[in-house]
Symmetry: C2
Subunit: 301 residues, 2 copies
């Protein structure tokens, strides 16, 4: 059990870490801070932190572990504010969806004697804000640590144990590989979902009412991730540009091939393509990363 952990940013992920840390008895004291006074007030009322600090320096002071849970675009302004107040031997980590940019933005500010270990839990919902958090968010999901070369082994081990205590499985990889893996498993899916919802919204010949009424034909699935936090996702795309553009190029090549098959009435190509994708769904269910229930087990109404 740690003496004190500090959470900077009290949205879905920050609040869920606080809930899960309490459930797992991982720290004597969880102190939270958010740049928004309104969010601090709501978080105080919700009570998932032991203390809500009104000052970011007070929040991180004496903490064994400091976790940035703000949108990654805010990191460059947060880093210089907290750096002078970090305790010797503290672990500085984060939960950002990109890791190369985080190392670029935070790294230069990290004082000697502080262990900087970026991290990213692959978990979330389409809801945002301190009310959206819950203690089981990380259960069975993966958290990826991307320590920089030369990181302290004991500190990495301690952070790994912390995430396991929150309910996660933990992997370690380098930041560049993380950013490519997440570009295909998370960033491209979000971009495509936002895009198709936009296309449906703008189509003149089909009304928005029709899109909404008949959404159970498939469209509604995309609207869930397209309802994710716009600030967070803006920052993801601005900070993982190269990897996103790379997988987007591949996506476009594949889509051109499917388009050509439709145009040319190539039923065999379509059938073969649609057949091999089933195995991936099955594997995701087998490893416990999704529900086998039809329609995700969603409510009937």
């Amino acid at each position: 059990m740690m003496q004190k952990i500090a959470i900077i940013g009290l949205g879905l992920i920050g609040s869920s870490i606080a809930h899960a840390a309490r459930r797992g008895a991982l720290a004597k004291q969880v102190v939270g801070f958010d740049a928004s006074a309104d969010v601090r007030g709501r978080a105080a009322k919700l009570g998932f932190c032991d203390v809500i600090a009104d000052d970011i320096a007070d929040c991180v002071k004496d903490a064994e572990l400091v976790i940035l849970c703000a949108p990654v675009g805010a990191y460059p302004s947060i880093a210089p504010l907290i750096a002078p107040h970090l305790a010797q031997g503290a672990i500085l980590s984060d939960v950002g969806s990109v890791k190369g940019a985080v190392i670029r933005d935070i790294g230069p500010h990290v004082p000697p004697g502080v262990h900087f270990i970026p991290a990213h839990p692959i978990a979330g919902t389409e809801y945002s804000g301190p009310e959206a958090g819950f203690s089981s968010l990380f259960d069975g999901r993966w958290a990826i640590l991307t320590p920089v070369p030369g990181s302290d082994e004991a500190a990495v081990k301690k952070l790994r144990a912390f995430w396991q205590g929150l309910g996660s499985q933990v992997d370690v990889m380098d930041a560049a590989h993380h950013d490519l893996v997440l570009a295909i498993t998370s960033h491209l899916p979000h971009l495509i979902a936002y895009n198709i919802v936009g296309t449906a919204h703008d189509l003149e010949q089909v009304t928005e009412g029709e899109v909404i009424k008949y959404s159970a034909g498939g469209f509604r699935d995309f609207t869930r991730i397209a309802a994710s936090d716009p600030t967070m996702w803006r920052d993801v795309f601005l900070n993982n540009r190269e990897a996103v553009l790379e997988v987007l190029g591949r996506f476009n090549e594949d889509l051109s091939q499917l388009t050509r098959a439709i145009r040319n009435n190539d039923g065999q190509m379509l059938f073969d393509f649609f057949t091999r994708t089933r195995a991936i769904r099955r594997a995701i269910i087998d490893v416990g990363q999704d529900s086998a229930a039809p329609n995700f087990g969603r409510n009937k109404s």
Copy 2:
């Protein structure tokens, strides 16, 4: 209550109609047929039909309502087999995801005195086959009827009442508009989902194991509809080519615009785009077409 209804094709939709018709006591006798002897055997064992016919002519004989529930690509070969055996005054309908092609393929075979009223329930799951059906599949979902000009009003009214009896809400529109609405709400989402799963599968730098493990970042949502029946979806794309290519063109234009915003670091454009898509999700939940529970309320593991 009808005397006899005939269901041709005993997969997810055909079997669900049988289950729901029994639940609603909509017919004295539900007779089923499937081109596959194996499926007929499994359906007989499951017992959702009163009779499983081994002969398609016996299945439709004397039926007040005949519903084609086979992949739409099979309609051209089914139509001439059943046409001579349809009863005078019978309604011939279907559940195909495209309607223009169905009118083209079935229309010329319909004998005088038979009421041909194409239909399409906007409901389904990612599972296929007679075991996948259940009685509540259509509850609260929409069924769209696309009667051809000059259709008998009383027959349309009777088919509407039947679908309401299955649990659906019912709309009527012309076939061409249906095909465009479904192209954006169902066909394009499926094509995009199949495509992104294929792209992830083929990416050399990221292993399939990584795609599967870290799929909770968004990718797993797409794998559900990409696990849908390959035969059905091949036939949809071959039979709604023009509308699919039209909405695909719009999708590509929008994606180019988003791509340019990422390349140019245009954070404001991305933020604005990602903000307006939230309202559509909210509206879909408000009209009861999806669950408000985080992550569709899917199981945690």
